[in-house]
């Protein structure tokens, strides 16, 4: 008896059947059987199946006498024929990954579950990309004691990603309905209703292959019959639950219908014609009408709006609303506001409430306009189009100018007020590079700009132009330009390929080492770098400005790793890690930075390196930090060599001098003049007007939220731990959060929170943010030490303190004991403290003073000047050794 039966159902799919069957025969589980259940194919299937059987005795072939028209009957045939104690189902156009059978079999044997369900993954054949289906459902490997424990599992209604106990299916007489298309929905509902114990595994057990031109049942969603079957399947599934006395689970099943089944049709709705939409609405309406209002409330606002439009038979509106579901979620054409709430369309109705999207309260530069292309034609190598712009939330001010941006080209346009509201523009442009054109409006009063893409009819046929075409794809249907790639001349290609081959990090380092042996550095050339090239800020900038102010005869080159806009116009820039950068490192007689120049690059013999370091605080650093505490010696050796390059270190405080040099193995000279970076804070001088740049409304206070990163989850966004949603609800009337994430962190503020939280992770100058803010919220970031200079309130959200201090990172100080402000562990508590901030701040006055004394006692506002005195001026008189000296 084999361990597992795999039923491969097929109908007129002789071309792909062997691929499916072979994916089973190649399984790491050898002891299995394949049952090909043929729904009476009229093509080559019998012959192909014959060959497969001949090639491998584990293959059996069953053939129905007449076509059943669905998947249910052949699956039942396979189930009846199964010889093994466990069974899986596979469609002839899909595949099983190699360990699917064995891994599920091991799991069902281990857990004794009725069935095991695994992750299903879509495989897009045209680009080979894989996309897991609702990975959160499968994230934990677990045994579920009945569907009631996790009703959201109704979202997994597949029958193919599971391995079943045959005995369980037979005992419960579980069979697939044979008269409808979505037999799997009904089957899985009954499966869930009958099982008290099933298991879930997180790995991928099924590859659902999707070709572009497919006619499989589940994808022929254009057919109205298909919609009917889906509704019937939903009704029957509900009946199953009632029959099993599980009526309490109906809302969860219905929520699945709204979130999944309905969206299958709603997303592509803009591509359908009016007649189709009308009929579709008529088909689903009776079922929707039965779904209680509280279930509708569980889904997102735009799906809910669509449901209500279906119920009200508002077909044209439905088509417009559906275009906001996919892609970047276009705003509506019109909206009304009433008593603080926002409604889709032109009338106030409970079902149309879209307040939760918070589209009406966005700052101007993030506000949303809807641009619909109403006509578009080719004219020689140009495109002519008419665009209707809707401003549903009244974002546009009295004075503005507008433009179209296509790639790097920006063309002024002149939208005119349209009769029925909004604006109409006649635009002519010549598409060149591939891009998604956007229309922008610039507010004349302050220069802020808002842009949005252009929506076109999804049925638009590509417009061919010389060198490019204009088209759209996807359901969101944005206008796109695709330029045809032109072939570069052969010589150019060879040159590029050669250069790419040569420009490896290894070659650059080798070249550099040769250079510094041959060429002496230039004493008046300085290389500056701040935040590893990410900006022109911090202490290097302060030192640079002092050098410039004095007009010292030093040529300064700045290293830049990305955005060049934040750099002073007069500065010479080199791209970090480029050949020119390597050359500049070799030639510069002075290096100044705040983190570390590329660690493997030895310093030229006579170059002098000023390490200004970017912060001080409670976190462990150097050899005490996790990245150098790992099991490998190489990073430690590397860092040791990198630190040995420093010729002088800027120390902000006695506390820093006590910890930092020791934990980095640094023994050289230390400047104790304060921190150049903090001079601006002491003097209170800003570079930019933050409130204006970040569009902080008048009368709103600014809470600077600056969490540090988590060592085990850099770039994951987990450092933003306070519940911004709750904070927005409670505080939006009085506060705006300016969210300064750490440079190694990636976090995108969700669009529905943009009205409250301004992303400022890449804002060019953090000092300005500190000066413009009314209070600081942080966790363990070094920013707290600089912020103490402002004397303004601080709050500490330290919900993971124990984990952070013990294992995630490690600390030198007991933050709750020295914190110059309240420490909280829940957002609720945080909100209470913010509401009562003056009192909370006052009660910490003593600790605040002590904290400031500990970290900021040396800050006088003249650190840059004194360091330039020593490091830059003195060397022109004579080279001398700098000893640590205290501020008098």
């Amino acid at each position: 008896m084999p361990d597992c039966t795999v039923v491969v159902i097929t109908y007129n799919d002789a071309a792909r059947l062997p691929r499916a069957v072979r994916s089973v025969l190649r399984q790491s589980l050898h002891d299995l059987e394949v049952v090909i259940a043929d729904d009476s194919s009229t093509d080559e299937t019998p012959r192909v199946a014959e060959e497969l059987m001949r090639a491998d005795p584990r293959v059996r072939y069953l053939r129905r006498h007449a076509n059943s028209g669905g998947c249910g009957a052949p699956r039942n045939d396979g189930l009846d024929a199964a010889a093994a104690p466990y069974i899986m189902f596979l469609d002839s156009d899909d595949e099983l990954p190699r360990h699917a059978c064995k891994s599920l079999l091991t799991e069902i044997e281990r857990t004794g579950a009725d069935f095991v369900s695994g992750q299903i993954s879509r495989l897009y054949e045209w680009n080979g990309r894989m996309e897991r289906y609702y990975p959160s459902l499968f994230a934990r490997r677990r045994v579920v004691e009945g569907i009631r424990a996790e009703p959201e599992l109704f979202l997994d209604s597949f029958t193919t990603n599971k391995l079943y106990s045959v005995r369980f299916l037979r005992d419960r007489m579980l069979r697939f309905p044979e008269d409808i298309l979505y037999e799997d929905h009904v089957f899985s509902t009954e499966l869930y209703a009958s099982s008290h114990r099933f298991a879930i595994v997180p790995w991928v057990v099924y590859h659902w292959r999707r070709a572009r031109d497919r006619s499989s049942i589940s994808l022929s969603i254009k057919e109205m019959e298909n919609v009917r079957h889906r509704v019937v399947a939903a009704r029957r599934s509900d009946d199953v639950l009632r029959r099993y006395g599980a009526g309490d689970l109906l809302p969860a099943r219905q929520e699945r219908f709204l979130r999944q089944d309905l969206r299958v049709y709603l997303n592509p709705l803009p591509t359908r014609d009016r007649v189709w939409v009308k009929e579709f609405a008529a088909v689903v309406r009776p079922y929707l009408a039965e779904i209680p209002a509280e279930v509708l409330h569980r889904v997102d606002p735009m799906t809910r709006v669509c449901c209500h439009l279906i119920l009200d038979d508002r077909i044209d509106d439905l088509r417009i609303a559906a275009s906001s579901l996919a892609g970047s979620k276009a705003p509506p054409r019109a909206a009304v506001r009433s008593e603080g709430r926002t409604y889709w369309g032109t009338t106030v109705a409970a079902g149309m409430d879209i307040t939760g999207l918070r589209l009406a309260e966005l700052p101007f530069s993030a506000s949303r306009l809807r641009h619909e292309v109403t006509e578009i034609t080719a004219d020689g190598d140009r495109v002519r189009m008419t665009v209707h712009t809707y401003d549903p939330f009244g974002a546009l001010p009295a004075g503005w100018k507008a433009f179209l941006r296509a790639g790097r080209v920006k063309i002024p346009i002149e939208p005119r007020p349209a009769g029925e509201g909004g604006y109409v523009s006649e635009i002519t442009f010549t598409p060149r590079a591939s891009c998604e054109p956007r229309i922008g409006f610039t507010r004349l009063s302050d220069g802020h700009t808002t842009t949005d893409r252009l929506m076109v009819d999804p049925g638009l046929r590509p417009i061919e132009l010389p060198g490019a075409n204009v088209r759209t794809d996807g359901y969101a249907a944005y206008l796109r330009v695709r330029s045809r790639s032109h072939v570069r001349p052969l010589l150019g290609r060879i040159k590029r390929a050669l250069l790419r081959r040569l420009s490896t990090p290894g070659n650059k380092l080798r070249c550099y080492k040769a250079l510094i042996r041959l060429l002496p550095p230039r004493r008046n050339l300085a290389l500056f770098e701040s935040d590893v090239g990410k900006g022109c800020t911090g202490s290097p900038r302060a030192v640079y400005e002092e050098v410039r102010r004095r007009g010292l005869p030093i040529e300064v080159v700045w290293s830049v790793a990305g955005d060049r806009r934040a750099f002073p116009a007069a500065a010479r820039l080199v791209r970090r890690s480029s050949w020119r950068y390597v050359w500049t490192m070799a030639r510069a007689g002075i290096w100044v930075d705040s983190h570390g120049f590329p660690l493997d690059y030895p310093k030229p013999r006579r170059t002098r390196y000023l390490q200004t370091w970017h912060g001080q605080g409670i976190k462990t650093i150097g050899f005490d930090a996790p990245d150098l505490r790992a099991d490998f010696d190489q990073p430690r050796a590397r860092w040791r060599a990198a630190v040995a390059r420093w010729d002088a270190l800027v120390s902000p405080s006695e506390e820093f001098s006590r910890r930092f040099p020791a934990s980095n193995g640094y023994t050289g000279p230390v400047y104790r003049y304060g921190t150049p970076r903090c001079d601006a804070l002491v003097r209170g001088t800003s570079r930019y007007d933050v409130r204006e740049r970040l569009e902080i409304p008048d009368g709103r206070k600014v809470l600077l939220y600056a969490p540090t990163y988590r060592d085990r989850a850099k770039g994951s966004g987990v450092s933003v731990r306070a519940d911004l949603e709750l904070m927005a609800e409670e505080l939006a009337g009085e506060w705006v959060v300016v969210l300064r994430t750490h440079p190694v962190e990636k976090y995108e503020v969700p669009s529905h929170l943009r009205y409250f939280a301004r992303p400022a992770g890449s804002y060019p100058e953090i000092n300005d943010l500190m000066l413009a803010s009314d209070a600081l919220l942080t966790d363990y970031s070094s920013v707290m030490c600089d912020y103490a200079l402002t004397g303004k309130p601080m709050l500490f959200y330290i919900d993971d303190w124990d984990d952070y201090r013990r294992s995630e990172r490690g600390v030198y100080h007991d933050l709750p004991a020295i914190a110059p402000g309240p420490c909280v562990t829940t957002t609720r508590e945080l909100i209470d403290r913010i509401r009562d901030l003056p009192a909370a701040h006052a009660s910490c006055a003593d600790r605040y003073a002590a904290f400031r004394e500990l970290w900021c006692a040396d800050e006088r506002g003249d650190a840059a000047a004194r360091i330039v005195d020593d490091f830059f001026e003195a060397r022109f008189i004579k080279e001398r050794f700098i000893k640590e000296r205290r501020v008098s």
Partner: protein, 354 residues
Amino acid sequence: MSVVFACLDADTLGGIQQVTHTLAQGLAGRGHDVHVIGLHRARSPFRYVDEPLYRQHVISHTPMDSRSRPARWAADRRLARLLGTMRPGFAVMTSPGMVTRMAGAVPAWLRPIGQYHGSYEHARDCWHLGSIRTRYAELDQAVFLSRDDAWMFAEHALLPNAWSVPNPLGAWPEEVSALETPRVLGVGRLEGVKRFDRLISAFARSGAPPGWELHLIGDGGELDRLRAHAAQEGVGERVVFRGRVPAAEMPREYLDASILAVTSEHEGLPVVLLESAAHGVPAVAFDVSGGVRSAGPVLVPPGDVDAFGQELATLMDSAQERRRLGATARATAEAFRLDHVLDGWESLFAHIER
């Protein structure tokens, strides 16, 4: 059945190699045709088994850090040729680096197995997790040190083929510690990852009764820092840095110890924990991996030095408690006796053959 173990360097002195040669000898003793392949010759080769019942092969006679690209290609060809001569069976690649290098060259008649000697937590904090996620899922089996580790890799690296077999104990001692010498033992390289600074602090905060000492066995770059740290914590006189002790003399050390302490940042399945348990010595350890948990020490949340000190204090105060936990430790260590571990490997082979 042939069983091929492949290491980057099979004759260097180290944990992976120790385990590999012990398993190789054990499986050969059970009649398997066993080969141990080292990709590189060690700078100072170490002989693990006096009379090996298995065959050893070295692909490159140059040490690891002196390789050029052509030399590497030549080595890969020699490796593929050698694998081609093996009889049907299993190829065990002992590290992510080895899997990357070799998986493509394993012939169809050798079922590829990827082994990982670190904990999930260690893999997560370095490049190993990404490598395991992409490479190990393709193999017939991915083998980890403990059930918890296998579970974590299944969840976070989405491995469908995760399995676990623990590391074996080299020998089973007849004699157990009397647990009367007032001595806490810490064993390992004096490097940051072992966090002996935390052990010293915990020892200092435990209020150890007079007479109790902390002995640290091993050498490394942190010696001076640790000595200074001990002095700062006020236990400079009571922390004894013993330097390196030959493996043959380690049993004596266990017999002379009353408590073993493991404060590392990362541990896979530490052999010291198993060996001390086999000698009936109770242990206190930070709960840093499934491997550590499986060896059954008194567990302390990672990094909680005060709690660690308290657990040490409890054990130092009560000989009865030490004897109770020591007996339990020895019973737990049974599962790691070579025979049981070899059974584990053979049932793994049977599972692959299903």
